[in-house]
Symmetry: C2
Subunit: 323 residues, 2 copies
């Protein structure tokens, strides 16, 4: 069997939903959805978005997670995925990828519906794409543009772990052994809070995911909503592993707030929603931290650290082409 | 502005549907659809699925057309598309691609809803993906598996033009000048009959598109439906350009029946549906030709040419990884 045929056979073992039609048809079918849908497509290219040495299982996990994170940011519940797989001539890698994809799709509750498998030219980088389809929340998908003056800015989980993990893998930093393992895991296997997104949707005024860095993603909300967001760096939530590796001074916090690949939820809400939001997050074992406040004024960010102004860094985060 | 930023700005001029949210959000939103949806994702890699010398406008057209062809084969009406764009450092190429994409999406009636733009590593091939979303027909999306003994096998348009065009571009064949231009155009700018697919859906028992070759795609219907399909090569519809370039003897017809990239509709129907099918196609100016018949028997193909048996070629068409 050809490498492509072997990979498609692996995909068929995953594509058990009726709408996938066993990957034997031209396209997938999604029965009449109960409400609106949310759709997203993110790509990952070897050597650009993942390292040639990253295990294929974790590459598949991450490809799935980054797309599910976009769904969660719109309050959507995962339904299915289509995969675009540009392979590079290593059946063992393909098998690891298929294992990881099955694990991730199961974890996030998304059915494999279809896709396409192609062979990259000799020496070409593995190029992966995933389209995720989710059911929009009944209240409508929150936009980036809904924040209002007086709203609080919240973020889930902790920030900067993935960025620190990448720096460790690139040999740009060092860390104690246990912290190192946790930070690399955060880089390779992000765990966006997909169940919390739909629960939060009715309580938020704007929501996005932190994929390129807290500051750049908060600035996008500020620009889309046409208001100022004041962030207190001292409140950015840091993991024990990150503190062990980098400390928690203003410089370490600024690094955490401009690092990419967090895949946490970033949202604004009226102060009177805070108790409900904290209860929803606590019920799912997810930390939520208020890191800033929306104010009338020119659209953009202001930064402080425990009351003292901090100049905005020239680079707010990872600039890439997601849309 | 970065190359990625410039390309996204071009995409924003196309993404005017409300659900695209101006490509400013994490994901696209599709309002509650009236019925079921059909979803497909096909990739194209430079040097594999298109030639480095192909004009970017036509590459964009083809990327769109191949996905719309899958929708048409399921009787679906195009709604929208998400684009995955792996760029290779040539702003002029990006601009041509954006122009071609706008033209194609307009032609096929699909809204640009979102996607992702990434930079390929230096020297990496342009890698493109498109996810197409369509509205399923009220009768349900026809499958490959619904053919029954006694059904006729029909194909739209003409066969083999695109394959002959590719052979001309690769310098593997020659043709008179006017035929050459038409065959290359068929390769670069396929025109799947997207409006006919939904109209045919209630009248067919099985439907697929001819993307890899008449024989291989007919064999997939035979296998999925568990029956024999007898094809009369003498009936395969050939364009005047192909006849001028290749003649119309059995060998030329076999080449046309095993060439890829036709993007025509291939379907089976009860003989009593033939009049209705011909009327629907004629009203849209599309040729429909009966090329075979479904029979009880071991699943597979039998070939004749004007009554004489023809052995099945070892290669029925282009084997790739679409699923």
């Amino acid at each position: 069997m050809s490498e492509e045929g072997a990979f498609i056979a692996l995909m068929r073992t995953l594509a058990t939903a009726p709408g996938a039609r066993g990957l034997m048809d031209d396209a997938a079918v999604l029965d009449r959805p109960a409400g609106g849908l949310v759709l997203t497509h993110d790509m990952m290219v070897e050597g650009v978005h993942f390292l040639p040495g990253d295990p294929p299982e974790s590459v598949a996990w991450k490809l799935c997670a980054v797309n599910m994170s976009d769904l969660a940011a719109k309050g959507a519940t995962p339904l299915g995925a289509l995969i675009g797989y540009g392979m590079a001539g290593d059946p063992g890698w393909n098998e690891g990828f298929a294992r990881g994809l099955g694990e991730a799709l199961g974890h996030f509750g998304a059915a494999l519906l279809g896709g396409d498998t192609v062979r990259m030219p000799d020496g070409g980088p593995r190029t992966l794409g995933l389209t995720a389809i989710g059911a929009a929340p009944a209240c409508g998908a929150p936009a980036r543009s809904g924040a209002r003056a007086g709203d609080l800015l919240f973020v889930t989980g902790t920030l900067g772990d993935a960025g620190a993990g990448l720096a460790l893998l690139l040999g740009q930093a060092d860390a104690p052994e246990e912290a190192r393992a946790r930070l690399i895991e955060a880089y390779r296997r992000p765990r966006p809070p997909v169940a919390l997104g739909p629960a939060l949707a009715p309580h938020v005024s704007a929501m996005a995911d932190v994929s390129d860095g807290l500051l750049i993603d908060a600035n996008r909300i500020a620009q889309a909503s046409g208001l100022a967001i004041a962030i207190d760096l001292a409140r950015t939530p840091l993991s024990p592993a990150l503190v062990a590796a980098r400390g928690e001074d203003a410089q370490g916090r600024l690094a955490a707030a401009t690092a990419g690949d967090d895949y946490q939820l970033l949202f604004t809400a009226r102060p009177q929603e805070e108790a409900a939001i904290r209860a929803l997050a606590a019920a799912r074992g997810i930390a939520v931290t208020a890191v800033g406040r929306c104010e009338a004024g020119p659209a953009g960010l202001t930064l402080t650290h425990a009351g003292a102004p901090v100049p905005l860094p020239g680079r707010l985060g990872y600039e890439h082409g997601a849309s």
